[in-house]
Amino acid sequence: MPSKNETAVQCFDVTYRLNRRNLVENLNFKVLQGEVLVLLGRSGSGKTTTMKLINNLLTPSSGEITVMGKPTTQWNSIQLRRKIGYVIQEIGLFPHFTVEQNIGLVPKLEGWEGDRIQSRVRQLLELVNLDPQHFAKRYPSQLSGGQRQRVGVARALAADPPVLLMDEPFGALDPITRLELQREFYQLQQQLGKTVILVTHSIQEAFLLASRIGLMQDGRLVELASPDDFMKSQQPEAIAFLECLQLPGTG
């Protein structure tokens, strides 16, 4: 078990430029081992770009990101990505793979033996509350949105990566299923102690899951605080988000 205070991911003055526009600008933050950093922001604020910079799907135009102490530019991209679980909003389950094959993908790429993959898949399905007997052989099209999202999380956890990147993982779900999955995920995270960076535009989700909230606006990180401190933030964008928490008529 890695010690709690070790840095898992750190950004040093990271800028990513595309077509002369800075999609993210001068990002500086540090994510500790076992922490859940929620990147909150409107659409187009640079949250997803930040994620893609971390697993080297994009390369910083300037600055540096270190993952587990090593700059992303020095990692072999393939090796790096296999050490980082990745969940995206559209989930991206392979439609021609069964649930079992989807979850076993990274272990298989890593050359695990068949038996080991199979028992790992079973274990993971139980972890995300899906009965292996019922679900292992199904195809993604035969699952509900919530079940697919659970499989997506199981797949990201398959090779036991120390870091998880989650890009609006609960975005496409109905509110009840979403809350259910958020709660389950919270417990799962507590139990496994993974370092998680999660992108969302939902302030509720941020408060439910975050150990720290990073607020992004126009490619910049404008606030980085624990949920308690975030509540008191006077940053205008933070206030705008906090207003979303109020129920109509109670403002």
Partner: protein
Amino acid sequence: MMQFINRYGSEIIYRAIEHLYLVTIAIAIAIALGIPLGILITRKPQFKKTILGFANIMQTIPSLALFGLLIPVPIIGGIGDRTAIIALTMYSLLPIIRNTYTGIIGVDPAIREAGKGMGMTDWQLLFQVEIPLSMGVILAGVRVAAVIAIGLATIAAAIGAGGLGVFIFRGVATVNNQLLFAGAIPAALMALAADFGLGLIEKRLSKSEVKTIN
């Protein structure tokens, strides 16, 4: 009628086999060239114009002219099978290249991104995800190519490559409809059979694609 079949039956079978041989070899070569070329232009878009352009031009050359033009060309040209196979291959390339390209480009970007984000190499992504998911579309291209090639191969007789076209040319020359049909009907049946057979395989392979729509 019976008399005709008695007289020409064995030759019809012989010519049909010859015909099938020309088409099968040509399609096999077109697949072996076309699929990799289609994949290449999904990876190196700078070649897309040149490669699709070449295949396009090949298709616009009138078939009889292409057969004729190839005769004087050294190595690949001359009279006989080889020239016919090369001409048929050229015609079959376009649908195969184009469908391979469209099929792969059409794979859901979220699926590609998930694969990449999980650490699949480009080859793994190609062979485990993109090709299986676009198999139905690629096969549809092969099917079109095969049907076209079976029809075109009747012209191969003009440059001495045999096939069912032999009957057609003979029929035209002697104004004998019976002979003409002896070539045309088996060729049409062969095209229908190829269309049906490849259609079946295509259907089976694209079953997995239905699963993307959810």
